[in-house]
Amino acid sequence: MKLHKNKIEDLDLIPLMNLFVTMIPLLLLCAAFYHIGMVSVSVPTQSDEESDVDVSKAAVTMSVQITPAGYTLTATSGGVGEAELKSLDAVIPRSNGKYDTDKLSQYLEKVKRRYEQSDTMMVIPGKKVQYQDMINTMDAARYMRVATTTGKKRKMPLFPVVVVSSIVE
């Protein structure tokens, strides 16, 4: 009698095992190993309505032309002078055969600091520009990763509104 009381009973794991074995196929069906996201853009359209761009704001719309040689940047605005806009023009050549997205981010960050209300960018890829390069350009222009005081990196918005256009021939 004493012996029985002191014996440590093993935990019956069989019901838990059954539960796990049932849950695993169910979760395998629902699991996504390929995570899909979206990149939102607009295509310019012809409209009879008046433009909703506020010309009183000191904001600029940056145009990034993607050519085989690299990026060509220009700026347009309703509230900023011609000479000032001209000073924002830039060319970022390809480096080691790749588009220099880091330099593009750094340049756009400077523009963003100067004209904080700016949020729109026009991407104008050349005919032969690959889709992946276009996406990389948009990624570099929409947000920039900045290190915080705690050492962590956070996304700083640059030009999150993207319009994709083509060169008119």
């Binding site: 095992m17 395998l28 853009v41 310019p44 996406i135």
Partner: protein, 158 residues
């Protein structure tokens, strides 16, 4: 002494050995946690076309329901309905009028008229990452002309 050893052996043979399930439980727990981390209900509705490599991006924007236009290496589709053939990086066998792909334009307009959310002006665009902008632009322009000026590019999250 001999008798004692024999007796112990006989008693041992009569006992049914218990299966040690602890290591099995550990393994199943790890698999379960991994699968729970990867579960996503919203991505269940998203069907990627065959023969398609989506571009990768660090965008955090999630999937949203809209008409899906798929441009694969072999065909152009709306949802899963065939629109035109793709050869190399060109759309072939479809009438092109004023820069728009006529069968795509007609089908998108039909979708728009049948849709309950007629005010929705967004299409989800799945396309091969190596395609040149020339061919993507043709499809995007057609969508814009058909009343879908807002495009959401489907990407693979980095």
């Amino acid at each position: 002494m001999f008798d004692g050893a024999m007796g112990r052996r006989q008693r041992g043979a009569a006992e049914i050995p218990k299966l040690n399930l602890n290591s099995m439980m550990d393994m199943l727990s790890i698999i379960l946690v991994f699968l729970l981390a990867n579960i996503s209900a919203e991505e269940q509705d998203f069907v990627i076309a065959k023969n398609l490599n989506l571009p990768s991006s660090d965008s955090t924007l999630g999937f949203s329901k809209a008409v899906q236009v798929k441009l694969t290496r072999t065909e152009l589709l709306i949802e899963d309905t065939f629109v035109a053939k793709v050869s190399g990086t060109k759309i072939v066998g479809a009438d092109i009028d004023g820069g728009k792909i006529v069968p795509l334009y007609n089908m998108l307009q039909r979708y728009r008229s049948l849709s309950k959310d007629a005010e929705k002006t967004t299409v989800v665009f799945q396309a091969e990452k190596t395609f040149p902008f020339e061919v993507l632009n043709q499809v995007m322009r057609t969508a814009a002309m058909a009343g879908y000026p807002n495009v959401r590019f489907a990407i693979q999250k980095k």
